[in-house]
């Protein structure tokens, strides 16, 4: 699987209702050691009810200025949520199906991303 197979694909829940599009894919560096770093484990999908347009990185990274742009992008992507990869039932035919009991999480990135 390459990432293009996931990005911008429509997401449906167990009833077949479309709930949005994959706008990003979240990894966590806690997989088995692979060379110099831990392997990035596929943690979940970020699903936006609206389009697959780029965030320009706004909503999740906590950047709040220029205020007008930050608000506009936040508004464009209101209702975005994170689903864990374990809650994904299947990926096929350009479609992502979620499990019936999937849980939605806040998409906000937490602390550890800015370490350099």
């Amino acid at each position: 699987m390459i990432l293009s197979d996931l990005l911008d694909t429509p997401v449906t829940d167990a009833d077949g209702t479309r709930v949005g599009y994959v706008i990003d894919v979240r990894f966590v560096l806690d997989g088995p050691p692979d060379g110099l770093l831990a392997a990035p484990r596929l943690h979940g999908l970020l699903v936006s009810p609206r389009t697959g347009t780029s965030f320009l990185g706004y909503e999740r990274s906590g950047v709040r200025s220029p205020a007008f742009l930050a608000r506009w992008f936040a508004w464009r992507h209101r209702g975005t949520f994170l689903v864990h990869w374990t809650d994904v039932a299947s990926v096929a035919d350009g479609r992502v199906d979620l499990a019936a009991d999937h849980r939605r999480w806040s998409p906000t990135l937490t602390g550890s991303t800015t370490e350099r």
């Binding site: 320009l56 990274s61 950047v63 200025s65 220029p66 742009l69 991303t113 800015t114």
Partner: protein, 409 residues
Amino acid sequence: MKRLLGVALGVLTAIGGFLDIGDLVTNAVVGSRFGLSLAWVVVVGVVGICLFAQMSGRVAAVSGRATFEIIRERLGPRAAGANLAASFLINVLTLTAEVGGIALALQLASSVEPRLWVPVAALAVWFVLWRVKFSIMENVTGLVGLTLVVFAVALFKLGPDWGDLAQQAMTLAPTSTETWPTYWYYAIALFGAAMTPYEVFFFSSGAVEEKWTAKDVGQSRLNVLIGFPFGGVLSIAIAACAAVVFLPQAIEVDSLSQIVLPVALAGGKLALAVVIVGIVAATFGAALETSLSSGYTLAQFLGWSWGKFRRPTQAARFHLTMIVALLIGVAILMTSVDPVKVTEFSVVFSAIALPLTYLPILVVANDPEYMGKHVNGRATNALAMVYLVIILVASLAAIPLMIATGAGS
């Protein structure tokens, strides 16, 4: 003392490097047709390029990432690819105009047909790109380009009616023989001439070439904030010379040979020689910058090794791109196209493509992951938002105005 010298050199090269064929032609054409009634656009453009260059230079110095890497990273391959196609095209168009400008200036000095000068000029540009160190290239063309100050001297020696010029500058409307759409069309052309995207690609990549760090942000800001406004003053002086000499006689400027006549009128043969040297330096410097920018944009989009601080073999595709861009420019000029016309189009297309370059830089200049504590301040952001609107409006209005006015004819 050495530091002061460094500051002075930076400011002087920023002044000398500000003007290119686009500024020369557009300002003279506008001066001859609209007097100084569009001088305010130069002011708007200069503040804009200060803001834009300063942001992109700061991003490059602090994060080490040049403008087109950021455009690709933020906009993704499709939008950035469209931006690349547009920027590359405009770059090559501007490069063509600059090489043509060198040839026209050499024609003024020699009476030899410009088409014979084009290959010579292109070869000289390539040789400098191939062999000369970045800082030497920048400083020499910048300092020699300073001789364009002769336009300001000429204006004084022409002894114009200053009250009348001031009156023109205060009248924000077309002269009686021109229409509003043409007025706005040339406003956009002037704006595009002052805020060409290649300057930003060059400025940010140059910061990486010269290995700037966060410590150099202050110096870079000084270069921009002092150098560019002085460059803007020279732009207005060119327009004023044309307004004084050509406007009363209803002379329509459409060639480089006309642009130098007011200088000869005011200062004789010596001034004429100085202005020709200045034009050669300015167009040569800009030809270098646009060639480099075509290499920078493509290399940064695709992640290739780039930069003049490397040997050509260590940035092979980057150097190949510049060679190809130069060859395309030469081929276009060999069709006998008028470089002045190419220039007039390139500045308008610059204005059209500007938003796609401006927005990602503005966003990243606010991102602490890139910028740490050097993110934009509130005042910068307030001004940047005003310019985002101006840039968008200019970009959207350019094509309808171009069609409505028959490209200003």
